[in-house]
């Protein structure tokens, strides 16, 4: 599958449907300027999106679409550059759309990038921040930690991975953190265990902290919330429910926070971790899993057919 370029795939699809262009309505071109294959199916993309870069703030996200038949998917902004008019995204290739995206190359263009969306992260002066990023959640905490650092707050980042080789953004996090603590599942680097293992000992040792921020898989965010609750430390999480329009129009991303129905796209994505109904979030994330499976199987078939075609051409 690696030999297959996304454009070939798109061309294949488009040929079948008699479509001629893959860019969306209007004149905007959302070109991929850089693409890096990092680790554990995580890819880093620098994308031309000047309107988004101009207004981006820590904690916000974009919604993107690859091509005309594509779905809209939300991705947190990991970085942006106003002067260059670019945004940086970290995307894990786990479903059809993200795998297709991972097949795209620098120079290819996305059909749509819209944003910045969501309420920016709440950043208050004079606080000590402990930020936990699990896996590619590190990309999501990055701009928030930086925002704290820029206004003079003390920042402690706890970043984790399965093993040392898969650790993401360590240097970037060191540049904006007063202290970086590392956790790996296998103990090959830093503390053996999860990011929560590190946080637990910090809490037990009564280390000074005003705000805890956790972004990553729901199980990790829930574990953090459960840990800090008894210590009464303010804890924020950024939720990642299924979304479609990202402007409050569809209600797909509804979450329950403190018994209140909230739309993550316009009321969040950042919420008080101690009030979030995580069980509901986990359940709702599975809303389309049967369809996702169908989509993936069909996509794999197309990829295989394409590979056969290429092999035959040799």
């Amino acid at each position: 599958m690696s030999a297959l370029s996304a454009i070939q795939l798109l061309a294949h699809k488009l040929e079948r449907e008699g479509q001629t262009n893959i860019t969306s309505y209007g004149d905007s071109v959302f070109r991929i300027l850089e693409k890096n294959d990092l680790a554990a199916k995580v890819f880093r993309y620098v994308i031309e999106a000047p309107d988004v870069a101009k207004k981006a703030k820590a904690g916000q996200f974009v919604i993107l679409r690859l091509y005309n038949d594509g779905e809209r998917i939300p991705i947190t902004l990991a970085d942006w550059n106003v002067a260059k008019g670019t945004i940086t995204l970290y995307v894990q290739a786990i479903g059809k759309t993200t795998i297709m995206m991972s097949m795209m190359k620098a120079g290819d263009a996305l059909a749509d990038v819209v944003g910045p969306l969501g309420i920016p992260s709440h950043v208050e002066k004079g606080k000590t921040l402990v930020a936990l990023g699990g896996g590619f959640g590190i990309a999501a905490i990055h701009p928030i930690v930086r925002a704290h650092k820029l206004i003079g707050n003390k920042t402690i980042s706890i970043i984790g991975a399965r093993t040392k080789e898969l650790m993401l953004m360590e240097n970037e996090m060191r540049a904006i953190s007063d202290d970086v603590r590392i956790a790996t599942d296998d103990g090959s680097y830093g503390t053996k265990g999860f990011v929560t293992t590190v946080l637990k000992s910090m809490l037990e040792n009564r280390e000074l902290m005003d705000v805890v921020l956790a972004i990553g898989p729901v199980v990790m965010m829930k574990a953090v919330a459960d840990l800090t609750r008894s210590y009464g430390v303010q804890t924020l999480v950024s939720l990642n429910p299924i979304m479609m329009d990202g402007t409050g129009m569809c209600g797909a991303c509804r979450v329950v926070v403190g018994d209140k129905l909230q739309f993550a796209c316009v009321d969040g994505p950042e919420f008080d971790a101690h009030k979030v109904d995580f069980e509901l979030l986990v359940a709702r994330q599975k809303m389309y899993s049967p369809q996702e499976k169908i989509s993936m199987e069909l996509f794999n078939k197309i990829c295989e057919a394409q590979e056969h075609r290429e092999t035959a051409a040799w």
Partner: protein, 499 residues
């Protein structure tokens, strides 16, 4: 794309133009109202092609003969954009379809849309003078015929690509920003462009059209028609910027102070779905009508997984809650998905109180949707996070409430359960907060609707608003009427403004 063979008007310009003997009013009223040819209900309930097939030229001319061509035409007063109805109908009767199109387009930039989705029975047709004795003239069907004829006729360019463009005045050098490419915004943009202003529409979604593309389904309004009407606006010089959320990507203040826009029109619609607050409402399988319809219409989910990546609910039994046009659209859309076996509409009042158009209700009944009236859901049932049923209770009508309709009252002990893997909630929409929150000084009601006068003028200098964001969820044509009034006021404002 569909039914072209049955509906295509002749391929030459003005083939029918002829002089006919003048009929007396009595003779005109003797002609029966021509029924609309429609796709067979059982067949269409399984496809997404348009339901009404449209008049042939002969049918249209015959129907047009029924119009008395009143000097003081009541029907015009009933039209929110004041289409000069007798003028265009007179041209249809004479077979001068291209002149009819010109007369129609003078007041209405989106006739092919309005001919399909306007509630004519409550507007122009309800005021038709012959309506007192016989059935009123089928104004809506004639409007649709003329718009379709113009689009399909090669002399006018076919599919909108070469449709005649009115002569535009020299550019005024004034810039107007329109927020939202729905019916209000598109109408406002068209009218301002025709007055020589530089107009940019900012649209949050990836495609222009607003509710015309995300809400109203293909079988009621083919998307190709919306595209053609949008292309026409672009020919008038209107710029459309999609993927642009005003309030997030730029604020109104930035548009006016930094980007040089002289005026702004807000037509963002009513896009924040209401839920019912019932137990089980967050189970997987419970959708807002907005989510369901957007997935199927805008994201082409009915072609999942082969030609669209956006998944749609795959349920055998679907329950739609609500009695408005959105509920009808959701129910009829659900019925057309290949895996659906049964669709119910659950509505708490009776048939007469249903706010949906009679035609839509009738179409839904014909297609086999089961209407459970005087019925209200009480909770949503499920297992392991997934919906498997809806508990409902029967209602009876009590005293009239604030809306003047009789208030539904629950009958104790009347609970029953419907099997359902999908529930679609279509009980209305609130206002979207994105603009209000980011525009200081913009006065809104407690429901978040923007406060505006008759012309759409808001509390902010240079800012107008219209459509659902002002009056709450209403109709396409009302939004268009608001866009039209605002365009007039904005034109006066920017041209009278000091340099």
């Amino acid at each position: 794309m569909n039914n072209d063979t049955q509906t295509s008007p002749p391929r030459t310009d003005e083939p029918m133009a002829q002089i006919k003997p003048k009929l007396s009013n009595k003779e005109r009223m003797k002609i029966p109202r021509h029924p609309m040819p429609e796709q067979n209900p059982l067949e269409r309930a399984r496809n997404f092609f348009e339901v009404p097939l449209g008049y042939t030229p002969e049918m249209a001319m015959e129907e047009a003969e029924r119009c008395l061509l009143c000097k003081k035409a009541k029907c015009v007063e009933g039209c929110p954009v004041n289409v000069q109805i007798p003028d265009f109908i007179e041209h249809v009767a004479a077979g001068n379809f291209s002149l009819a199109a010109q007369a129609l387009k003078q007041m209405n930039a989106l006739p092919a849309v309005c001919g399909r989705v306007c509630p004519q029975e409550d507007q122009c047709e309800s005021l038709c003078v012959i309506g007192a004795k016989v059935e009123p003239v089928a104004v809506g069907r004639l409007e649709r015929f003329v718009a379709d004829w113009e689009r399909a006729n090669p002399a006018n360019g076919g599919t909108g690509s070469k449709v005649k463009i009115p002569e535009l005045p020299p550019p005024t050098g004034k810039k107007v920003a329109i927020i939202g490419a729905g019916p209000a915004g598109l109408t406002c943009a068209g009218d301002l462009a025709k007055r020589g202003h530089a107009v940019t529409i900012f649209e949050a979604l990836h495609k222009p059209g607003g509710v015309l593309v995300y809400g109203i389904p293909e079988f009621r309004l083919p998307k190709q028609i919306v595209e053609a009407e949008v292309q026409y606006l672009e020919k008038l010089g209107v710029q459309i910027k999609c993927d642009f959320v005003v309030g997030m990507t730029r604020t109104i203040d930035e548009l006016m102070n930094e980007d040089g826009y002289d005026a702004v029109f807000i037509g963002t619609g009513a896009g924040l779905p209401y839920f019912m607050g019932l137990p089980g409402e967050n189970l997987n399988g419970v959708y807002s009508a907005n989510e369901f319809l957007t997935r199927v219409n805008l994201m082409k989910g009915f072609e999942f997984p082969n030609h669209a990546d956006t998944p749609v609910p795959m349920a055998k039994h679907v329950v739609v809650v609500g009695g408005g046009n959105t509920a009808m659209d959701a129910a009829r859309t659900a019925l057309r998905l290949p895996w659906t076996e049964k669709v119910y509409i659950v509505y708490r009042r009776s048939h007469v109180e249903m706010p949906a158009r009679k035609e839509e209700i009738h179409h839904g009944e014909q297609e086999g949707i089961e209407f459970l009236l005087l019925t209200n859901p009480t909770r949503f049932l499920g297992k392991d996070g997934w919906l498997n049923g809806v508990e409902c209770q029967k209602m009876e009508l009590g005293e009239p409430d604030a809306s003047g309709r009789r208030k539904p009252v629950a009958i104790p002990g009347s609970e029953f359960t419907l099997e359902a893997e999908a529930v679609i909630i279509a009980v209305g929409n609130g206002s979207n907060p994105l603009i209000n929150k980011t525009t200081p000084g913009l006065s809104v009601t407690k429901y978040g609707n923007i406060i505006a006068d008759e012309s759409g003028k808001t509390s902010r200098e240079g800012v107008w608003a219209g459509g659902d964001i002002v009056i709450g969820a209403a109709t396409v044509i009302k939004a268009m009427g608001a866009g039209k009034s605002a365009a007039k006021a904005i034109d006066e404002f920017v041209t009278g403004k000091k340099q």
